[in-house]
């Protein structure tokens, strides 16, 4: 099993959700995060004092899938989240030892 994590532009969340739905992936966890990479932030000015805001709002998406689906998920998210502009984000996967569904106590692939 794998945990696929993606950091994407917030306005792309709907597209990613749709793409995953088409893959049959029905669950995910989303959080609002701030990213700092090649994409430049913006400048804010308050009564003449300038502040540079390096961190850009991003959405972090996490999906638990079995090993075979992981590659498809990465591809689907890549296609759905891409705009071709700097700041599109990153996707990575890590292996998972164990997963438990809290309600039922099911473990492993059954809990996905």
């Amino acid at each position: 099993m794998r945990l696929v994590t993606a950091i994407v532009k917030p306005f792309k969340l709907d597209d990613v959700k749709q793409a995953l739905h088409e893959l049959g992936v029905e669950g995910m966890t989303v959080s609002e995060v701030q990213g700092h990479g090649r994409q430049r932030g913006h400048t804010e000015v308050y009564r003449g004092a300038e502040y540079v805001v390096d961190f850009v709002p991003k959405v972090r998406i996490e999906v638990l899938v079995d090993d075979e689906t992981a590659v498809q998920v990465v591809d689907a998210v890549t296609t759905a989240a891409r705009t071709g502009q700097i700041g599109d984000g990153k996707i990575w996967t890590v292996p998972i030892d164990d997963v438990v569904r809290i309600r039922t106590g099911e473990r492993g692939p059954d809990a996905l």
């Binding site: 099993m1 669950g27 995910m28 966890t29 292996p95 030892d97 997963v99 309600r103």
Partner: protein
């Protein structure tokens, strides 16, 4: 070492925290996230326009533990967070290669 991550119902955070403390885990990181799974979201209506809000508020907690404790920690969280209802969430464990305590520079299991 393992990183145990749990996505749970927000009102269960206190129970999970107490259970982990009783078990002997004294540090954890918590974030407010949104989950999307079998639990249905809700509908909002603004001037007659209905929106389906799929994402449900969840709490994500991360705790790094020794290999031999990982299975027990997962069980402790599952037991404390369970309500038996849909939307109880998931717990998973991933292997951790390296761990450093920032203050002291201690590495590996000493940094736990």
């Amino acid at each position: 070492m393992k990183l145990v991550t749990a996505v749970i119902k927000p009102f269960k955070l206190d129970d999970v925290k107490s259970a982990l403390e009783t078990f002997g885990v004294h540090g954890l990181t918590v974030g407010e996230v949104s989950g999307y799974g079998r639990q249905k979201g809700h509908t909002e209506v603004y001037r007659g326009a209905e929106y389906q809000v799929d994402f449900v508020p969840k709490v994500r907690l991360d705790v790094v533990v020794a290999d031999e404790d990982a299975a027990d920690v997962v069980d402790v969280i599952v037991k404390a967070a369970s309500t038996g209802q849909i939307g109880d969430g998931k717990v998973w464990a991933t292997p951790v290669d390296e761990l450093v305590r920032v203050r002291t520079g201690e590495r590996g299991p000493d940094a736990l």
